[in-house]
């Protein structure tokens, strides 16, 4: 059973589209595997939609925008509507093609959230292999990490912090053992030495604390408060 979940503040930022792609993908993968967080996220999304688009938001519009700017907007709207409805095509249901990778004879199907990401070359160090997912997020580094049976990650601390999401297999560290879907956020205060008896595949994101959100909303959300 999954025991490690993203914090609710993180789920909120995820539902609002405020997190960087690396973290958004991680939470999407967890939510897909965790009925509990799935339900929470659905409720949060409904609530955000109500807050943004509901009745009280509407009366705020009218008072803040004023009559003149409303009329101004009406004419712009008509042009925009014309452009949109001129397109007679309807969008087909998109097809999902599962992306598979093979590592040391073991086949893995990648979760949809990361299936279309560019994957760098795997580099190997003993029983540990790591490949970058090329998201272009500067100081945020996202990777797939694979341990062969009996493999381990050398003891390390984190300068900023590190997210580990177990995709397949199992591993354990000083804190306990982990199952697929477990979502672990560690910061510089933690040290750990993950070991895998049967082998595992993880999605990891490593970064400096300041870089996890996108948009000007980050000014309103000190990131440390979001994660811990």
């Amino acid at each position: 059973m999954i025991r490690h979940h993203p914090k609710e503040t993180l789920l909120k930022a995820f539902a609002g589209g405020e997190l960087a792609a690396s973290l958004s993908a991680a939470i999407a993968i967890h939510v897909d595997m965790c009925p509990l967080c799935q339900e929470k996220t659905a409720a949060i999304t409904r609530e955000q939609a109500m807050k943004s688009f509901g009745r009280e938001a509407l009366s705020a519009d009218i008072n803040s925008s004023g009559v003149d700017s409303c009329q101004q907007a009406e004419t712009d709207y008509d042009d925009m509507i014309q452009v949109i409805v001129a397109d007679e095509q309807i969008a087909p249901v998109p097809l999902r093609i599962p992306k598979k990778i093979t590592l040391h004879g073991q086949e893995f199907t990648l979760p949809q959230a990361i299936a279309n990401l560019q994957l760098g070359k795997f580099r190997h160090l003993g029983k540990l292999s790591r490949a970058r997912l090329l998201l272009g997020e500067g100081p945020i580094h996202t990777s797939l990490l694979h341990l062969q049976p009996g493999g381990s990650v050398p003891e390390h601390t984190h300068k900023g912090y590190e997210l580990t999401l177990l995709l397949a297999g199992e591993f354990h560290d000083e804190q306990g053992s982990y199952v697929p879907g477990d979502f672990m956020m560690l910061d510089g205060r933690h040290t750990h030495t993950p070991v895998s008896e049967q082998g595992c595949l993880c999605y990891t994101v490593v970064s400096d604390a300041l870089h996890f959100t996108q948009g000007i909303n980050k000014l309103l959300n000190p990131i440390a408060a979001l994660i811990y």
């Binding site: 807050k51 943004s52 925009m80 397109d87 007679e88 249901v93 996108q214």
Partner: protein
Amino acid sequence: MQVISGALQKNQEGIKPIAMPADFDNKTLTRFVIAIALKRDKQAFTSLFKFFAPKIKRVAATRFNNSEQVNEVLQETMAIVWRKAHLFNIDKGAVTTWVYTIMRNVSFDMLRKVQANKEDNLSDDIWPLAERNIGEGEIFADHLAKKHMLTCLEQLPQNQQMVVKGFYFLEMSQEQLARQLDLPLGTIKSRLRLALSKLKLQLGDDNDQASS
């Protein structure tokens, strides 16, 4: 975002809402989306557009600080509503939530374009708008997932297309369709039967060609 909307709400305390030009409930909004999906109803789309436009712009303005980008979010969001209305699932939630998630996805992709200089449009992988694993085992539903299906569908008479789209894309019951299109149940049933036999013929022909 919450900080901002919270502040706005506080300002509104005690102020009586002015008569709102178009305050639709979910039932009405749903009717509009269905009319777009089934009939490409431009009037229904115009009503939806005018209902959501000021709301979308207000939320977008908390993320983008130039009006060009705010307008881009609006246009792109509503264009998706127009093109994907048939993927809206009436059993899965309110129209408001659906439009909000589309806007959230559009904003996410735009921010990523601006900040990471990537045009990979990841939002649909992170928050899929439509269920893609359509009814396994059901041969017909399987075909639906294919682009090809839409091409065949387009060749049907308009009145049969509407019924098939409503039944398979919107997952409406035949009774719901009859009410929505204001037609007797018998007519819906016979149109669906007719449309399906034609589609099966077309899809079947193609399958034979492919295997020979």
